[in-house]
C-alpha cells in the first residue's frame, strides 16, 4: 500500500464508527411501540424534521469521533499530490564538484552554495524518501546508494569536498540512466537534482565514448523529474596552465634544462593592462620570475634551471594577475640523476684494456667533457667483461649494451632478461664474432627470449658491390632520423653484417633501418616493460666504420634516449589519471598521503602473471604532491604529482536561456538566488495531520456535548 498513513493498519479502528449506530439501533429496539390513531398530528411536522436532523447530527458527530480517533492514530500525511506526496520517492543528487565549482560566488564558493542547497533539500525531504548522492569531480562517483537515512545523507553531503578534477557530465549522465532504471521500484517517483555552476566545458564536452550530455539529460528527463540547480558564478578573467614539462625528458645534474609551459587567458579581462606574473619554484624555492602583459589567448613561457645535485625535484609554477586562483599552479616532479649510466659488455675488454669497438662506443655514448661547460651527454658509459655482470645491480643502468660475443653465459641471460622485463633496455651489436647458434639458443629461444629475431649467419658485404650502407625504414623513428640523410651516413661503411633467418612467425620485430642490400639492419622488440634493440653489425672497426661519422654519437644517444623513454611520465599525472608502480620488496599495505594530508591505504596487488606486486591509485582528485610512505627501495618513485586538467580553465557557463534551448523543456531550472527548499517544499511538504485530527476530535467531543445538552434541555 502506498501509504497515505504512517500506520495504515490502525485504520481497522474505523470499525468503531459503527458503535454509535449499533447503540442507536439497540436503543431503537428498546423503544416502546405504541399504536396511536392520531399519529397524523405528528407526521410531517417541522419539529419532527428538525429533531430528526438534530438526532442525525448527533449520530454523525458520534460516528465521527471514532473515525477521527482512528485516523489520528494512523497518522495521516497530507501532501500536494495527495497520496503522491508520500509515494516511494528516490531523489538522486548529483553534485558537480569539478574545480570550476571552487570559483568565488559572493562571499562563498559555488561548491559551498551547492552543498548548502543540497543539505537544505534533504532537510525538506519527507521521511521515507530514498536518497542517492553522486559526485562528479575527476570522475563520476556514487557516494550514497538509496538510503532512507536522511540524516546520514545530509551529513555526507555536508562533508563533501571539491575535487580538482574536470570530468564532464557526459561521463556521469550515461551511468545514471541504467542505474536509475534498474533500481526503480514499482510506483516509485524519481527526481534528479543537478547542482552545478553549469560551466560549458563540464556540460557540453562529449564523453570519451562519444556520449552527448544533452541527449543523455533528455533521456533522464523521461525517467525522472529533472531539476537543474544553478548555484551561480560568473566568467572571471582567468590565467591557467595547460602544461609544464622539460624540453629534455631526461634530466641530469650539471646541465641546464629548459622547462616550457603554456599559459592561457580566458574570460573578460579587467580594465587596464592585466599582467601575468609567473614564478618558477624548485622544491619550494623561488628560482625565477617572469612578468608580461597578457589579456587573452595563449603564451609560451620557458624557464631554465640547472640541477646541482642528484635527486627528485618538485618543480612548481605559479601565475598571478587573474580573478580565479584555484588553477594558478602547476607541478612537475623531476628525477635528476648525476647521469644515465650505460653498461657495455665486451669480451675483448677487461678492467685495464678496452677493445677498439668498446672504446668507440663508449666515446660515442659519453664524449669527453670540457671543464666549465655543460655536459655534452647525459650518459656515462662503463665497459665491463661479461662475466663480471653478476656483481652489478643492473637497475642502476638505463641500458646494457652487448658487443658481439661468441658465447653467452647462462648467468648473463638470467641477469639480463629480468632486467629488461622490468623496464630495462638491452642493445645487441651482432658482429662477426657472434655465434648465431649460441644466441638463438639462449637469447632468441624461438621468439621468447631477448633477441628480436633469429640469427642466420654473419656475412661479408657483397664483393664487387662495395660495402653496405644503411637506409631507414619508411616510418622513420626519431632516433634514426639522421640515417635518412645519406650525406651524413655515406654508403660503404659496413664490411660485414649479420643476416637473419626468415621470419618464422614467432616474433615480429620493428625494423628501424635496412642495409642497402635490403636486409634488416636495426631491429627492436618490446619485452614486457623493457626494450631490446639489435644492430646487425659490429659497433666499430674493422667490420663497421660508422663510428668514424661525426653523427654517430648523436645516433647512439638518440637511441639511448628513446630506450630510456620519459622516466618522469608516470609520476606526473592529471586529475583522474591512475598512478601505478611496482612494489619491489613488500606486499604490506602502504600509506598514501594526499595533498590535503588525508591518508589512503594502498594494497599491493599482482597485476599480471609475473612475481611483481603493483600498487595502484586512481582517486587522484586533488592537485598537488602525493607521497607514499614506504621504506627506501620498496618503490622506485614513491612520490607523484597531480595537475589540473586544462579544460576547467575556461569558466564560461550556461545561462538559463541557453539551457532551455539546449536541453528543451520539461526541466526545472532553479535560479541561484532562489532557495531550493522554497522551490520544492510545496512538492515535498507533507503535513502530519494527526494533531489536526486530534484537535478536530476534541472539537467534536465538545460540540457533541454542547449539542446534546442543548437538545436535551429542549426536551425537558
Amino acid at each position: 500500500m502506498s501509504s497515505f498513513f504512517v500506520h495504515p493498519w490502525l485504520l481497522v479502528a474505523l470499525i468503531g464508527a459503527s458503535i454509535p449506530i449499533i447503540i442507536e439501533l439497540l436503543f431503537r429496539r428498546r423503544r416502546r411501540r405504541v399504536e396511536l390513531p392520531t399519529i397524523r398530528y405528528l407526521l410531517k411536522n417541522p419539529p419532527q424534521k428538525k429533531i430528526k436532523r438534530q438526532d442525525q447530527l448527533l449520530l454523525i458527530l458520534r460516528c465521527c469521533v471514532p473515525v477521527f480517533l482512528a485516523a489520528a492514530l494512523a497518522r495521516p500525511l497530507l501532501g500536494p499530490e495527495g497520496g503522491a506526496a508520500v509515494r516511494k520517492r528516490h531523489v538522486v543528487i548529483v553534485m558537480d564538484s569539478t574545480i570550476s565549482m571552487g570559483q568565488q560566488v559572493g562571499v562563498s564558493t559555488a561548491f559551498a552554495l551547492a552543498r548548502n542547497k543540497a543539505v537544505r533539500l534533504i532537510q525538506v525531504l519527507p521521511e521515507g524518501t530514498e536518497v542517492s548522492v553522486v559526485t562528479l569531480g575527476h570522475r563520476p562517483e556514487r557516494r550514497l546508494d538509496r538510503t532512507k537515512e536522511l540524516y546520514a545523507a545530509r551529513e555526507l553531503v555536508d562533508s563533501l569536498k571539491i575535487s580538482h578534477g574536470a570530468a564532464s557530465m557526459a561521463e556521469a549522465l550515461p551511468l545514471l540512466r541504467p542505474w536509475m532504471t534498474a533500481g526503480q521500484k514499482k510506483d516509485e517517483k524519481q527526481e534528479l537534482f543537478l547542482f552545478s555552476d553549469f560551466q560549458k566545458t563540464t556540460w557540453l564536452r562529449k564523453g570519451p565514448d562519444g556520449a552527448n550530455p544533452v541527449e543523455e539529460l533528455r533521456n533522464l528527463r523521461a525517467l525522472s523529474d529533472v531539476y537543474l540547480v544553478d548555484v551561480g558564478g560568473s566568467r572571471p578573467f582567468n590565467y591557467y596552465f595547460t602544461d609544464l614539462s622539460p624540453e629534455e625528458p631526461l634530466l641530469v645534474t650539471g646541465k641546464t634544462f629548459r622547462f616550457r609551459t603554456t599559459v592561457e587567458a580566458k574570460g573578460p579581462p579587467p580594465a587596464g593592462d592585466p599582467r601575468a606574473r609567473l614564478t618558477f619554484l624548485v622544491n619550494g624555492e623561488k628560482k625565477s620570475m617572469q612578468e608580461f602583459p597578457f589579456r587573452a589567448g595563449k603564451a609560451g613561457v620557458a624557464f631554465e634551471h640547472r640541477f646541482q645535485k642528484a635527486g627528485e625535484y618538485l618543480i612548481e609554477l605559479t601565475v598571478e594577475g587573474d580573478n580565479h586562483r584555484l588553477d594558478n599552479r602547476r607541478y612537475y616532479l623531476a628525477s635528476v640523476p648525476e647521469s644515465l649510466k650505460v653498461l657495455i659488455l665486451d669480451e675483448g675488454s677487461d678492467d685495464s684494456v678496452e677493445s677498439p669497438e668498446a672504446a668507440f662506443l663508449s666515446a660515442a655514448v659519453s664524449p669527453m667533457e670540457r671543464p666549465g661547460l655543460d655536459k655534452s651527454s647525459i650518459f656515462t658509459a662503463k665497459v665491463m667483461y661479461p662475466a663480471n655482470i653478476i656483481r652489478e645491480n643492473l637497475s642502476d643502468y638505463s641500458a646494457v649494451v652487448l658487443l658481439g660475443m661468441e658465447r653467452v653465459s647462462a648467468d648473463l641471460v638470467n641477469k639480463l632478461e629480468p632486467y629488461v622485463r622490468e623496464g630495462g633496455s638491452a642493445i645487441f651489436f651482432l658482429s662477426g664474432r657472434t655465434n648465431p647458434w649460441e644466441y638463438n639458443e639462449k637469447l632468441y629461444r624461438e621468439g621468447k627470449g631477448l633477441l628480436p629475431a633469429k640469427l642466420l649467419k654473419s656475412e661479408d658485404a657483397p664483393p664487387g658491390g662495395g660495402a653496405l650502407g644503411l637506409k631507414v625504414a619508411s616510418e622513420v623513428h626519431p632516433a634514426f632520423a639522421l640515417l635518412a640523410d645519406e650525406k651524413i651516413f655515406p654508403q660503404g661503411e659496413l664490411a660485414r653484417f649479420m643476416s637473419l633467418s626468415p621470419e618464422d612467425g614467432s616474433s615480429k620485430p620493428d625494423v628501424f633501418a635496412y642495409f642497402t642490400n635490403g636486409k634488416p639492419a636495426i631491429l627492436a622488440k618490446k619485452l614486457a616493460k623493457g626494450h631490446v634493440v639489435a644492430f646487425c653489425m659490429s659497433a666499430g672497426p674493422p667490420e663497421s666504420f660508422l663510428p668514424a661519422s661525426l653523427t654517430y654519437p648523436v645516433l647512439l644517444q638518440e637511441m639511448l634516449r628513446y630506450l630510456a623513454g620519459e622516466p618522469d611520465r608516470e609520476v606526473n599525472l592529471e586529475n583522474g589519471q591512475t598512478f601505478q608502480q611496482d612494489v619491489m620488496v613488500s606486499a604490506q599495505h602502504l600509506i598514501l598521503r594526499k595533498p590535503d594530508n588525508s591518508k589512503v591505504r594502498l594494497t599491493p596487488l599482482k597485476m599480471d602473471q609475473g612475481d611483481l606486486l603493483t600498487v595502484s591509485f586512481n582517486d587522484t582528485d586533488q592537485m598537488g604532491l602525493y607521497e607514499i610512505e614506504a621504506q627506501a627501495g620498496v618503490l622506485k618513485r614513491p612520490r607523484f604529482v597531480v595537475n589540473l586538467q586544462s579544460s576547467e580553465g575556461d569558466l564560461d557557463r550556461l545561462e538559463e536561456s541557453d539551457a532551455g534551448k539546449m536541453f528543451g523543456g520539461g526541466m526545472t531550472w532553479v535560479r541561484p538566488g532562489s532557495a531550493i527548499e522554497a522551490t520544492v517544499k510545496g512538492k515535498y511538504s507533507v503535513l502530519e495531520l494527526a494533531g489536526t485530527f486530534l484537535g478536530v476530535l476534541a472539537t467534536l467531543l465538545v460540540l457533541e456535548s454542547l449539542l446534546a445538552a442543548a437538545f436535551g434541555l429542549r426536551r425537558q
Binding site: R30, I39, R40, L43, I51
Partner: protein, 297 residues
Amino acid sequence: MNIFDPHVIARIERLELRARTLVEGFMIGIHRSPYHGISTDFAEHRHYVQGDDTRHLDWKVYARSDRFYVKKYEQDTNLEARFLLDSSRSMFFKSEDAPMSKFEYGATVVASLAYLFYRQRDAVGLTLFDDELRQTLPPRASFAHFRHLTETVEKATPGPDTRLGNVLKKIGLQIRRRGLVILVSDFLDDLDAFGEGLGLHNFEGNEVILFRVEDPIEKEFPYRGPTIFLGMEQEGNLVCNPLDLRTHYLAERERHISSLYGACRKHGFMMEEARTDAPLDGMLSGFLNMRSALFRR
C-alpha cells in the same frame, strides 16, 4: 353507582341492555315534529297566499268571513334517523386507562339514541362505514329492528381506513326523504372532503348531528421516552421522543378540531364531543339540547 359512568356501563355486555338502561334512566320527553303536513291534528290557520294548494283552503271559514284561510296540521313523530357509525380501525383504539374503545363508546351512544327514537316511534337506520359503506340497515321503528341494530353493531369488525367525505356523499345520495343524520366518529380524516359531504347533506335538507369520540390519551398525549408510534390507518410509523412533539401535537389537534367545527358551522350543523371516559348522560343531554336547538330554528 352512577349508571352513566362508562366504567359502569362497560360492564353491561349487551348493547341493547346498555341502551335501555341509559335511556330509562334518563327520562326523556317526546320530540315535537318540526315537519308540518297532512295530519289529523290541526295546528293553526293562516292567510292564503298565491301558490298555496287550494285543497287546503278552509271553506267553512271562507263562508263565515269571506276570507281565504288555509289549514295547517302538525305531523306525527315519524322521524327517520340514520346513525352513521365509524367502524374504521382507529375507532377500535382503547388506551390502557380508558373504560372502552371509541367504537364501543360510539356504539353505546348510537344504541341509546336508537332506543330513545324507538320509544318515540321514530324510525332509525344504521350504517357502519370505514372508507366505504360496510353495512346499512334502513330506518324502521320496530323493537325487532332496534334489536337487529344493536346486534349488527355488536358484530362490527374494524375496517381499514376512514373516508368520511366519501361516506357522507354516498349516504346523501341514498336518502330519499329528509331526516336526521347522526354521525359518530373520531373524525380522523381529510376535512376538505368531509366538508363537501356535509355540504351535500345541507343541500338535501338533512339535519346532521356529529358526535366526535375521543380517547383521553388522544387529548392529553401523555407519552414520555423514546417511542415508536404505529399508525392505525396506513399512516406509517414514527420514531420520536414524544416530549419533543407534544406541543406540536396539541396544536395540531386543536387546529384539526377547529377545522372540524368550522366545517360544521359552515353548514349549520352541530357537533358534540365526548371522551370515552366521560359520563354518557352528558352525551344524551347534549344530544337533546341540540335537538331542541334544531326545532327552534
